[in-house]
Amino acid sequence: MNMPLNVVDEVLQVSNLRVELAGQVEVLAEVYFSLAAGEIVGLVGESGSGKTTLATALLRHARQGARIVGGHVKVAGQSLLELEGEALRLARGGLVGYVAQDPATALNPALRLRTLLGETLLAHQPRLSRQALRQRIGETLVEVGLPADDAFLRCFPHQLSGGQQQRIMLALAFVLRPRLIVLDEPTTALDVTTQAHVLQTLRRLCREHGVAALYVTHDLAVVRELVDRVMVMYAGRLVELAGREALFAKPAHPYTRALLAAIPDVASRQPLQAIAGQAPAPGQRPHGCAFAPRCGRRRAECSVIEPPLLTLDGKHQVACLLPDQEPRHLAGAAVEPVSVPNEAVLLEVLGLDVAYDRQVLFDVSLSVKQGECLALVGESGSGKTSLARAIAGLGENIQGQMRYAGEPLAATARHRAARLRHQIQYVFQNPYRALNPRQTIGQTLSAPLAHFFRVRGGEARRRVEAVLERVSLPARVADLYPHSLSGGERQRVAIARALICEPKLLVCDEITSALDVSVQASILALLQRLQAQGLTVLFVTHDLGVVRAIADRVLVLRQGRMVEQGSAEQVLDRPADAYTQGLLAHAPSLGGIAGGCG
């Protein structure tokens, strides 16, 4: 079955691809690019940019309501968009493999691994003998770095770790020996260490088998570690295509530059710059350059002429009338962390144990000083969320002591005094479920006012508008329901709900992990502003770049135990514990001191 390599150097050719929603609303247009065998190309864009639409279009699939209306997709010489029926079925998987975002839901939980892999192979090669089948499965499993023994093959997907599940997804794609593989944010659900290992495996597989890979992600740092070339997508068009080094050293499109400036980097503390405004929704593309309304280099002609994709030098292409030719200055003006003058301890946790059906926290102690930002870092399962919830009064089965401003703090919010309940506020990870969908933003925000301060009517309205202004939202948002807001706007509202309670301590549980980088930058900037106004922040995260951007002190948790604690510079630059060192080594970086290429 092994096809000789390099028969066709260009495995994938896409030209003039166009995808529309009903009513000729353009989602994706004028997409031209090609992929060579063995090459890994990153497709980067924020949510709504059309990157997933492009990825699935390579399998001749469009999500419900969308339609591929034009263009050509050639994979290894075959025109994919003209295939129908049986030929299309065989091309999907056989010619173009696909790895989905969340392996936990993409793998059928009722099938054993042997069945999963076997039925995939048999669907494409029904005449394969049992012997050959077993051999192919075994080979593939070894290739993706999994055991191939019988005991493992009898496992169900839920018995594997997240990293192993994602390796199974890779195996399912590679077992058919496709020429092209499309990966849709395959590592977003994984820890940094696991992610680094999975990416290494992917890279090796693509090189060995000469498979071209399109790696879709919103994470530019991952791209930096993995890919050969990068394509940046904005509002349904490719705006910049460049080799990895060229893109990071000399990004030419203002959007690419803005994206890079918005990403917090673990290597150095830099001021984060959010991108002003919002990306246009499908059908609301402005005239001329779609990025022009948000662009700092905009000129009059930008909103008239739509910039074509032009070659800058070699393989570097950019769609901009005024491409930036300057190299990006790396690690420029590093900002000093806000000094914390006030030394009073606001929150103290002593010997905290939390156990559900198993113990998740073991004897954790910490203290947060007035006005500082303490980052709680750990991988999934480290117990960081349990700790944050315990402090917020949402925990169960808690043993140990908590003290707030010198007084004992009850474990559940119900047993806390009203004063403590409004002074300690919590912001949830998922902005999509943190707001009641049946209440307007105004109702959500004014409820705590009536509850804590007996403020109603005109005064409440004034305070709601004031707090919306503090989180940079217009006052008219008060009359809207959550579903008409974007994720970033919802998270601002959630922060506003906490702020309107006049908190002293704000507990933030991974509040930016569901958001795009440019939105994350604006939320982090907001937090820094609030901290400068005297708010104490406890920030839970797994992203070390975010830690570098905002934290004064860092506490590292591993499997429910504290492994390291200290000032941000100390922990990030001179980690004492081996686990922290490992975390830092695997953290994807945009370049600079820490983080090497996988």
């Binding site: 917020a392 009064g393 949402l394 919010a413 119900r414 806390r416 009203a418 309940r421 409004h422 919590y426 949830f428 990870q429 998922n430 999509y432 479920r433 943190a434 707001l435 009641n436 969908p437 049946r438 209440q439 959500t444 409820a447 705590p448 509850h451 804590f452 579903h483 709900r497 309670c501």
Partner: protein, 275 residues
């Protein structure tokens, strides 16, 4: 709690029009009736004729007059029974779904046990023992329906109660009734309303069944269910006496049913539009 988005759905509109028409007929019918429902004005099982467009029934009453008079009782009783079941069942279900633990176990256990008992048998049992006063019939039908509402409300409430905005409310220390009725209830209202429509349909069926079996509204009062029972002997001589009330019951049940279903579908679409 009407949502204007529902009315955009053609099925919702159709269901609403049918339901409203039958309700209107039953409500103002008594004033339109040419004769008193108990006045014997013609021959037994008299065929349709001038002055009596639908003919006469087993005692020679004017069938049209009895039809116009006989809708109100079955309609108010079914609406009352469904409403009562909704109020009691939703409150219990909300409480169970939010509190979990022991209260939840007690309420869910009670609901499961009574669900296992056939509705009609339960109602027949109570009515045959305690009598056939209209309020008692309403109460027993409501009792038969309540466990279903409890189960539905509890299941929907559990899904909502786990969401972060409910936790946020708990963290603020809002009182429990407030969390139940302002945070959770609005989010489970749609399935409850759909279920209310279904209960209305079932109640009409059950009430007319009760009348048919002789346990419902007492003769000589006019009632659509009772009329089917009274006139069955003359089905071949004067089919209208059975068909007309049966048709009206069927149309009303159809109207409430597609109304409920339409609301369910329309609001599912609205929710889908939200990312």
């Amino acid at each position: 709690m009407t949502d204007p988005r529902w009315l955009a759905d053609p099925q919702v509109r159709r269901g609403a029009v049918i339901t409203l028409l039958i309700t209107l007929l039953a409500a103002i019918g008594p004033w339109l009736a040419p004769h008193a429902p108990t006045a014997m004005v013609g021959p037994v099982y008299g065929a349709p004729a001038a002055g009596a467009p639908l003919g006469h029934d087993f005692l020679g009453h004017d069938l049209l007059s009895r039809l116009l008079n006989g809708g109100l009782s079955i309609l108010w009783m079914s609406v009352a029974a469904a409403t009562l079941a909704l109020l009691v069942g939703a409150s219990l279900g909300l409480l169970a779904g939010f509190s979990r633990r022991r209260l939840d176990q007690a309420i869910s256990w009670a609901a499961d046990v009574s669900l296992a008992f056939p509705d009609l048998i339960l109602v027949l049992l109570i009515v045959s023992m305690l009598g056939r006063a209209p309020w008692l019939i309403v109460l027993t039908v409501a009792i038969a329906f309540t466990p279903g509402v409890v189960r539905l409300a509890r299941g929907s409430a559990v899904a909502v109660a786990g969401q972060e905005f409910v936790e946020a409310a708990q963290m603020m220390g809002y009182p429990r009734w407030r969390i139940l009725f302002q945070e959770i209830l609005p989010n489970i209202l749609t399935p409850l309303l759909v279920h209310f429509g279904n209960m209305l349909t079932w109640a009409v069926g059950m009430l007319s069944g009760l009348s048919f079996l002789g346990y419902g509204v007492a003769p000589p009062a006019a009632d659509w269910g009772l009329m089917i029972n009274e006139n069955q002997a003359g089905l071949l001589v004067q089919p209208w006496a059975v068909l007309a009330p049966a048709l009206l019951i069927g149309v009303f049940a159809y109207g409430t049913n597609i109304l409920a279903e339409g609301i369910g579908r329309a609001s599912a679409r609205v929710v889908e539009k939200q990312p």
